[in-house]
Point group: C2
Chain length 405, copies 2
């Protein structure tokens, strides 16, 4: 496969990004209370007005990032909606200030409905507000993001009691890969172009990367979602659980980190252990697409949706393989990118109504017609399209320089 | 359809019950710690040794009930295993006595792993221990069951704070149909042949039945899983949610209650609103089988498995339609019983290894090969086969009496 055929994806990805952003601009803004509707049917109709804090924070991030980085999205309506979303979070996400604990889901007007005993609502609060601060230039958003980040790090590394999970004798503490992945992602966000923050979070970045690497098990042959605090394999389903899309997403988080650290060993590990290998095991040889869950011993997972094809493992794989190719020029990664992008555009994309379907059967048939829901918002699809567009542009520039040189 | 063709199911159901019980006898007993393994693969191999309290209580109930009521199952090994399961629950289920709160899942040796902020672990604790008391004749099991029942009723009707759910401003209190269904089932269990208990729980039975009836909405056209405390429809996905198998299960719970109360209006409501109508809406016209979830407005549910065919809605429908037919002699119910039984025996039953698969794709293909897991144990399949066998025997006796009369 040559670069020309890779570049044929550029226009298609850019047009898709435009269509996807249009979908959210048209259908998701709550003009009355601020924030975003994310429970949107196939044509964008709101079927529930609950506001999931993960998805509020993610959409604030996405709009702010596009506004700040992509000239054609430097449009007042994006910044205005991002700001209204940020203000909604500031006003309502924290359930009982001065505690930093956030709700998982709020009513349309911001009353808390449910609290999760995890850190993720708070993490997407940080992600959204930090980027909003960068897009608006108003430091108060970043100040709030940093204060929340401190609480999150305290919960993870010192004392989780404020999260509200009881300590039970049979629940051995373990490391769920989502936690260090999320922290590494936040370190990346907070450190960009900010030497002080970069220095402040440098140790946390290293710690998070090491924690993620602990999940490589079985003599390097498998990434497991949960391991003991000491990096040992755990018994039972919890210990055997694999999530190919998640491993691949961790791969590009690690690759970004390795690039910043100029660590070529880590680049190789990210590519081999977190991209190529999870793809080899996780791609359905019969119908195509990545499985949602697997068991490292080949047993049947207990997640009902394990065979289903979800949108986000595919968006993360597009990012990972393209970023990996740009870094290494390894042909295998280029081929994987095209393989995943072809599947995703053919199966998930909805050229009629915009945005992507989120949930397909094993065979690739649309199983849920919704475009957004409690776990799918304005995030994975536009983030992948934006990052892939950026990488393709950079590859093109390099190629032109080389051919002119 | 005539009675002779119905009776052709009798032998098949009895043989299936034997095979299913054999499966659990062979594979699920923990001889070392007592209690049951329920995470069993297709051939019965244990793939996780966690002990889910719901399933421990249910298996104690099932074994004790078969021992007490079905002569061919009056075997010491069943009673011994039920007793070991009951002792395991007594020793380990309650997390912090004197509180009555039970764990949701325990390690193999009984240490708590997770607590749910609901009443269901405790309810299956009551169900199992009460029936074990009846099977063994030892009153201490029933004393413990009654003490737990008091706590449950207190949590539901007076003060839920011990359950640990925070009261949040946006979470409007609502009635989830599972709660009054469970209570009605327990009233039935505790009252059998016990005039004192029957009188003690009589008001609770009436209250539970009324609460279930509140879920009939849309001028009688739909059973909704969640309604307000005042019996009004709720907004959003929560309010529109339907679960055809659950409605049909509520149908036979109500029918049992109506029979005890000799309430012919309630018999008619149970049959029309909770059996016939949910079946009409919930049966997949394309591939057969009952959908797991639906939205009353025909929108797409957000549950990933909504189109999948789960075993338990089908076992509950077999019970409901056969019980309904025995009560009313309505031909439509007889036809529905045969339709569901045919589908279930063809798709869920595994004549090679025993027991039933639990999870099929919309098209009826086995999606998960496990025979047991965190939510499937020795309960719905043997309970349905046992109740259907009992009803068929009783219908046969009546027919013989009539033809001799």
């Amino acid at each position: 496969m040559d670069l020309a055929s890779l570049f044929s994806w550029h226009g298609r990805i850019s047009r898709e990004l435009d269509a996807v952003v249009d979908f959210w601009l048209q259908h998701s803004h709550d003009e009355e209370y601020g924030g975003f509707f994310t429970c949107l049917g196939q044509d964008g109709k709101v079927y529930d007005d609950l506001k999931y804090v993960w998805l509020q924070g993610r959409q604030v991030w996405m709009y702010s990032r596009l506004y700040r980085k992509v000239p054609r999205f430097r449009r007042p309506e994006l910044l205005q909606a991002a700001r209204a979303g940020g203000e909604f979070l500031l006003a309502h996400a924290r359930v009982a200030p001065p505690s930093q604990k956030c709700a998982f889901v709020l009513t349309r007007d911001g009353r808390p409905v449910k609290i999760q005993r995890t850190i993720f609502s708070e993490c997407f609060y940080v992600l959204g507000l930090d980027e909003l601060g960068r897009a608006t230039g108003e430091p108060r958003y970043q100040r709030e993001a940093l204060a929340m980040m401190e609480a999150i790090v305290h919960w993870v590394r010192e004392d989780p009691s404020e999260l509200g999970r009881p300590l039970l004798a049979g629940a051995s503490p373990h490391d769920s890969m989502a936690v260090p992945m999320m922290l590494l992602n936040l370190v990346d966000q907070l450190s960009e172009g900010d030497a002080e923050a970069a220095s402040r979070f440098s140790e946390l970045g290293g710690w998070s990367a090491q924690r993620i690497l602990m999940h490589v098990q079985r003599d390097g042959a498998a990434v497991l979602e949960n391991v003991s605090e000491e990096g040992e394999e755990l018994p039972g389903c919890l210990g055997r659980q694999q999530n190919p899309g998640h491993a691949i997403e961790a791969g590009w988080f690690l690759l970004c980190y390795a690039q910043r650290q100029q660590d070529s060993d880590l680049v190789a590990q990210a590519v081999e252990k977190f991209m190529k290998e999870p793809f080899r095991l996780g791609w359905d040889p019969e119908h195509g697409g990545l499985f949602a869950f697997q068991d490292v011993d080949g047993l049947c997972p207990t997640q009902l949706e394990w065979k289903m094809k979800l949108w986000w493992p595919h968006t993360e794989a597009m990012i990972a393989f393209l970023m990996g190719f740009a870094e290494t020029r390894d042909q295998e990664l280029l081929e994987r990118f095209v393989q995943v992008a072809k599947y995703a555009f053919a199966k998930f994309s909805d050229p009629q109504a915009g945005e992507w379907f989120g949930y397909l059967s094993q065979e690739g048939k649309v199983a849920l017609t919704i475009k957004g829901g409690p776990f799918k918002g304005c995030f994975h699809v536009p983030r992948a399209l934006y990052i892939c567009e950026e990488i393709l542009e950079s590859l093109k520039r390099e190629t032109q320089l080389t051919s002119q040189g």
